[in-house]
């Protein structure tokens, strides 16, 4: 029992108060004097004297000038500057409130009406009561919070945001309150979960412990409060208006009890709670008073008990009737739950027609129906309910709602209640015996049920069974309950006693014959728990998977995390780690864990997957379909669809490349479609979508690779055409001379004889031979062909080197790894220095300057660019006087010339002659490609590595002033990437073999081109829309060319329009009609684009798009792609075409290409 401070006579008390006043006054400053007194006064005296201070208006007004402020400006009071112990701070706060007890009792009454109006969608009443609260009790954080929330309920998120913005912009509102409003408003954001909200809050909120906890309380959370910081939190409420001081003091008391449910907490709070409960008639205070032992005869609300009794005794119709009345009259969420459960048991639809359709309560009814019924959309419904609970955390019904949702995964009768459950049990509206399980403080649960039971005359079966379950004994009978409820209580009792196998036995029996859907899933969840506790892990996994496959929502309620940990522990301690791996349920459990709990154990999921295959002696998962004995259909479907995904398949040792992983997944997707069809089900469309995505990706990758491999190209057909009649005539003349000039035959014979006799030295002999007219003519013919082969601006090798390799490709490919790792920067202009590398400066120097560090990074940028410039500008070129380092050297020696002449000696056919020369030139090209590859792999790669080494050495020298660990890591990570890039470029220097492309839809070409451009412009967000004539197929041979046309078009967009704004939108259509193919490609321009300049550019493009100008531009790097497009259309696709560039009124840049479709489209 509570012991009050010993009474003293009134004279003594007066003298004591006079002395205290003197002490306070002596301080010179009354506020400081009171603060000193608060901290230093002896306990007994403090309790006797403090009420007298607060009874005196003069003191009260000094520390709390405006408890019910009529304006925003007056909402914050000066408070008392020193902080005492928690117990004393609580008593101080209670004493401050007591003079306003009448106001607080009025507030409690009006708040109930206010909450009721909100819940029932009565906007007018709610607004009216809000005004009444403001007029009677002034402004408060509580009222502002309520108004923000109700703005959302009545007018939606946008209006709420607007209202909150107005509040935050109102400078009359103290800044701390505007800050609080910003969080209250942010809390309502859609798709922001409770945990995410508080994670963000914890990362950004002020670190001051007392304030931090108070903000948590205001925002609806139960913070982890130490007594020392809790006293600060209580003290801070001194600053707030009356309503906040009361509301948040109550919440702090609830949080303290929830956080530290110990006898000491009760002891600390009992005196103050007794005082408060003696004057303020608030159900929340009554509950607290009962729990801390301050008021055994607390006034509790027993409205719900008859309803609960009817439900647990199986009188469902009666329960429905009673519950419905409570829902409609009081908005009781606990009654609503009973209503929904009873309706399900009785097979009656739970419609509450009395509720307005748009009321908050109606939304809660709808979502709670889904959650309790484990419907397919229960997961989303549970999230919404949690969010409603958080948003309206200042109401008592929200606490009841939060408890109901939390109980599904963490039943306080089975598990130790968590802090939030203990907190909400104290806050929840009404009284419910089940709250007793969350009142773990000092026998409070028992006191609570006893009091409820007493108030019901000891006749409540719910109270009796709850009392029995709180302290279960073996053989408890629960006779008053219906069979179903009795079995459940017996199972719960066994679980609480640790008799897990007994619980398993009872639950398994009821699970076999469940009475309704709710009983099935709730019973199954308990059965899973019992099996887990009993160590029957495989059986636990099986029931978890069975239920999860039937109702996904239950995945978040089952003990998946603990089961997975138990399985891992069992595999460690077992002689055979693969002991349970033969069961597909184990694999699926790991997958559920990965998807619903955390990806942290994904490697173990892959282990379970591999172990399962091993146990079945399967190499590939696709073999399971034909070896499925003992695997239920639903399990097989889940396993193939969800477990056998690329991230798991790539850990299968039998699959040795990304391609094999994709092929295996594709095979599984086909199997899945067949399995669904065989089961009479419609295969989900996602299966086909995924299959198509894989195949398209593969085609695009193959196409891109094939295009890379066909970059070295000489259009010998084009050269044959370009050689014209002159060469043909020369050939005829040469043939004539061959017949006439027998002496030359002798010379040839001499050469042949000497060559055979002297091998390599034949060159010396041959050089001394005089050239005849026939030989001179042959030399001229071969030289002409060679020159066209090497240098023709349209068909020749250098033109193709320019178009397919040098035209930015080498630069982008080699620079890309450095750019991705942020290791290189650009120059502002061609002649200027490199820009400062802000990325690494920020990370290594916190944005400070260090010239050695900056120079080292600039050196790397310079070295990379110089190397690329060198290799493209000097090395990867056809040799000439102006390109003396060009690796493609087509000089033909005299001996070789004679060799070719001899080879062509018996040939009469002109085309055969050309073929011999082309074959020779190709052979020579192939040898030179080896030289090009060598130049890249040995020269370029070495020099790029040297540049990286130089950077690393400089960074070493900069230590310890510069923390360059992460930069060194980036340097080391980039090395293999640089090698891969050089390897890729080197791989382009390969003679393209004969490649057959399948006929294709132009989207393949578009996507392949897009993939290539995206690789190079990986910082650019390219959004695309593509459409084409349905079932349009283009001939396979055109694929590389059409892809290159798209590459040039998209790259033009990326380079000229996108790179400056970071994103670009491209719309492309390809239509075939009337013997033509129309390609239409358009892209948006940035708002800052210079329209006049673009129009000029368009005029130039349209004017220049012709053979003469374009062919001259083809071999030059750095121009726009239009000459290349012209070349591809004219000489590669060999089609009639037109190209026009334009600008729309709404500033879209448009390219239209019209192509004669003959020979191109099927």
């Amino acid at each position: 029992m509570l012991r009050f401070t010993p009474r003293k006579s009134s004279t003594t008390r007066y003298n004591e108060f006079a002395r205290a006043r003197a002490q306070v006054t002596k301080a010179g400053n009354i506020r400081l004097g009171l603060a000193h007194y608060k901290v230093n006064a002896p306990d007994a005296e403090f309790r006797r004297v403090l009420p007298q201070f607060f009874q005196m208006a003069a003191y009260r007004q000094l520390v709390w000038p405006d408890p019910m402020p009529a304006t925003y400006q007056r909402m914050i009071s000066p408070g008392i500057p020193r902080i005492s112990s928690l117990q004393r701070e609580v008593e101080w706060a209670v004493n401050a409130l007591i003079p306003f007890a009448d106001n607080l009792n009025d507030f409690v009454e009006v708040r109930e009406r206010y909450e009721h109006a909100l819940l029932f969608g009565d906007k007018d009443a709610h607004t009216r009561i809000g005004v009444e609260i403001q007029e009677r009790f002034g402004f408060s954080v509580w009222l502002l919070q309520s108004r923000v929330n109700s703005a959302q309920v009545w007018s939606g998120l946008a209006q709420q945001k607007e209202y909150s913005r107005e509040l935050m912009a109102d400078k009359r509102l103290p800044s701390i309150l505007r800050y609080i409003i910003s969080w209250i408003s942010f809390r309502t954001e859609e798709n922001l979960s409770c945990s995410e909200f508080f994670r963000l809050f914890n990362d950004n909120a002020p670190a001051s412990p007392g304030l931090f906890d108070l903000l948590h309380i205001i925002l609806g959370d139960c913070p982890q409060m130490e007594p020392s910081t809790a006293s600060t939190t209580v003290c801070l409420t001194d600053l707030l208006p009356l309503i906040d001081r009361y509301v948040y003091l109550v919440a702090i008391l609830q949080a303290l009890i929830a956080q530290a449910p110990t006898a000491e907490t009760c002891e600390n709070l009992r005196y103050a709670v007794t005082m408060l409960s003696s004057v303020v008639k608030d159900p929340a205070i009554e509950k607290i008073a009962l729990v801390v032992g301050a008021k055994p005869a607390a006034s509790l609300n027993t409205d719900l008990i008859p309803c609960l009794d009817a439900y647990s005794e199986g009188r469902y119709t009666e329960a429905i009737s009673l519950a419905k009345a409570l829902v409609i009259k009081k908005g009781s969420i606990d009654a609503l739950q009973i209503l929904l459960r009873s309706s399900e048991q009785a097979g009656i639809s739970a419609i509450i027609s009395e509720l307005p359709p748009h009321a908050l309560l109606t939304t809660i009814v709808q979502d709670l129906t889904k959650v309790i019924g484990f419907t397919p959309d229960a997961t989303a419904a549970a999230s919404r309910l949690e969010k409603i609970g958080l948003t309206h955390s200042d109401t008592t019904w929200a606490a009841a709602l939060t408890l109901i949702v939390a109980r599904q995964s963490h039943d306080e009768r089975v598990f130790e209640p968590d802090v939030l459950q203990r907190y909400h049990a104290l806050r929840a509206s009404g009284d419910n015996p089940i709250f007793a399980f969350s009142m773990t403080i000092d026998g409070a649960g028992q006191r609570y049920v006893d009091r409820l039971s007493a108030l019901c005359g000891g006749k409540s079966s719910t109270c009796s069974s709850t009392r029995a379950l709180l302290r279960p004994v073996v053989g408890g009978d629960y006779q008053e309950l219906s069979d179903d409820h009795r079995q459940k209580m017996l199972a719960l009792s066994a679980l609480r006693l640790g008799h897990n196998e007994r619980a398993e036995e009872i639950l398994a029996e009821t699970f076999r014959q469940p009475n309704g859907r709710v009983a099935h899933y709730e019973g199954g969840t308990l059965l899973a728990e019992a099996r887990l506790r009993a160590g029957h892990l495989l059986e636990c996994a099986q029931i978890c998977v069975d239920m999860f496959l039937a109702a996904t929502y239950i995945g978040s309620l089952l003990p998946i995390a603990r089961l997975v940990q138990a399985l891992l522990q069992a595999s460690k301690t077992s002689a055979s780690p693969l002991a349970m791996s033969g069961d597909i349920s184990v694999v699926i459990i790991f997958d559920i864990y990965s998807r619903h709990v955390s990806p942290a154990l994904d490697p173990e999921r892959a282990d379970a997957f591999n172990d399962f295959l091993t146990s079945r002696k399967l190499k590939f998962p696709s073999q399971l379909t034909d070896n499925r004995e003992g695997v239920p259909d639903e399990h097989l479907l889940y396993f193939l669809r969800n477990v056998c995904v690329p991230d798991v398949l790539d850990q299968c040792l039998a699959l040795r490349s990304s391609r094999e992983v994709e092929d295996e997944r594709a095979k599984i997707l086909v199997q899945l479609t067949e399995l669904y069809t065989a089961a009479g089900l419609v295969p989900p469309v996602q299966l086909n979508d995924e299959l198509q995505e894989i195949r398209t990706r593969q085609v695009i990758r193959d196409t891109t690779h094939q295009l890379d491999q066909s970059k070295i190209f000489v259009d010998t057909d084009g050269i044959r055409r370009a050689l014209g009649n002159q060469l043909r005539e020369n050939w005829a003349r040469y043939r004539l001379l061959s017949l006439q000039d027998t002496a030359n035959s002798d010379v040839s014979d001499v050469v042949k004889i000497i060559q055979e006799a002297m091998g390599d030295r034949v060159a010396i002999v041959s050089l001394s031979l005089p050239l005849t007219e026939r030989t001179k003519l042959f030399e001229r013919m071969v030289g002409d062909i060679r020159d066209l082969f090497a240098n023709n601006k349209v068909f020749g090798l250098d033109a193709n080197l320019s178009t397919n390799i040098r035209h930015g490709y080498v630069l982008r490919e080699l620079r890309r790894p450095f750019v991705v790792a942020h290791l290189v920067t650009n120059k502002l202009t061609e002649s200027s220095e490199y820009k400062i590398n802000e990325y690494w400066t920020e990370r290594c120097l916190d944005g400070e300057e260090n010239s050695e560090f900056s120079d080292a990074l600039n050196d790397l940028s310079r070295a990379v660019d110089e190397e690329i410039e060198y290799i493209t500008g000097k090395v990867l070129k056809v040799w000439s006087d102006s390109s003396p380092e060009g690796v493609f050297d087509f000089e033909i020696s005299l001996p070789m010339l004679h060799y070719l002449q001899r080879k062509a000696g018996d040939i009469e056919n002109y085309d055969e002659f050309l073929t011999i020369i082309f074959d020779y030139l190709w052979l020579q090209t192939d040898q030179m490609l080896g030289v090009a590859r060598q130049a890249l792999l040995e020269g370029t790669l070495r020099r790029l590595y040297a540049a990286l080494n130089h950077l690393e050495e400089t960074l070493d020298a900069c230590a310890p002033e510069v923390d360059s660990q992460s930069l060194v890591t980036a340097v080391n990570l980039v090395r293999p990437e640089v090698r891969s890039a050089v390897d890729r470029v080197a791989s382009w220097f390969t003679l393209s073999g004969s490649r057959d492309y399948q006929d294709y839809n132009p989207k393949i070409a578009f996507d392949a081109a897009l993939a290539t451009v995206e690789t190079y412009y990986n910082d650019l967000n390219i959004r695309t829309e593509f459409s084409s004539t349905q079932s349009m197929l283009m001939r396979g041979w055109t694929l590389p060319y059409v892809t290159r046309v798209f590459s040039n078009l998209i790259e033009n967009v990326a380079k000229h329009f996108g790179i400056s704004i970071g994103s670009v939108e491209i719309k492309c259509s390809v239509d075939a009609h009337g013997g033509s193919v129309a390609i239409h490609l358009e892209n948006n321009l940035s708002e800052s684009s210079d329209r006049d300049m673009i129009v000029k550019k368009i005029d130039t493009i349209n004017a220049n798009f012709g053979q003469d100008t374009a062919s001259n531009l083809v071999a030059k790097e750095g121009n726009s792609g239009y000459p290349k497009i012209w070349k591809i259309l004219t000489h590669d696709l060999r089609c009639e075409h037109q190209l026009a560039v334009s600008l729309t009124d709404d500033c879209w840049f448009v390219v239209d290409i019209l192509i004669d479709s003959r020979g191109i489209v099927l």
């Binding site: 040792l653 990304s658 990758r701 690393e952």
Partner: protein, 150 residues
């Protein structure tokens, strides 16, 4: 003496193989360039010693295969799989890096060493490779000698 070197950086691989050839000419060296190929060889072929890079792609990189997803702790994963399957070949980690994993949640080399020592009995040690500094050569040789003796 059979040594498996699992390393995706061809230059580093070349340096390690060159070092072994120079000092342990009798050693037969097998190579792998990814987590999966390293793991396959570690589990299926008999080796006397494994030299494993910590950070590797899932598959061997080729011109047509980017190697799949990267694994910051590929070396640890190989050791973990060996442990699961009872393969106890001595293993040395040879890494370029000082820290591993995402920038906002990285594991330092020192932390990783402690973890490897605690979890894997066949873990011999870690050598930090530098392409432009030769310390690692002596260090690696001394760790190898620890396994095979002089």
């Amino acid at each position: 003496m059979k040594i498996l070197v699992a390393e995706d950086d061809e230059d580093k691989l070349g340096d390690i193989v060159g070092l072994i050839n120079e000092h342990i000419p009798q050693a037969k060296i097998a190579t792998a360039k990814s987590l999966q190929s390293g793991l396959t060889q570690a589990l299926t072929a008999e080796h006397d010693l494994l030299l494993i890079d910590m950070t590797m792609p899932n598959f061997d990189r080729t011109v047509t295969d980017d190697g799949g997803r990267p694994h910051a702790f590929a070396g640890r994963e190989i050791l973990r799989q060996m442990l699961r399957r009872g393969v106890s070949t001595p293993a040395i980690i040879v890494t370029h890096f000082h820290r591993f994993g995402p920038e906002d949640d990285f594991t330092t080399l020192e932390q990783l060493k402690v973890e490897l020592e605690t979890r894997f009995a066949n873990y011999i040690g870690t050598v930090q490779y530098r392409s432009n500094v030769d310390d690692w050569r002596d260090e690696l040789l001394s760790v190898i000698i620890k396994v095979f003796g002089e």
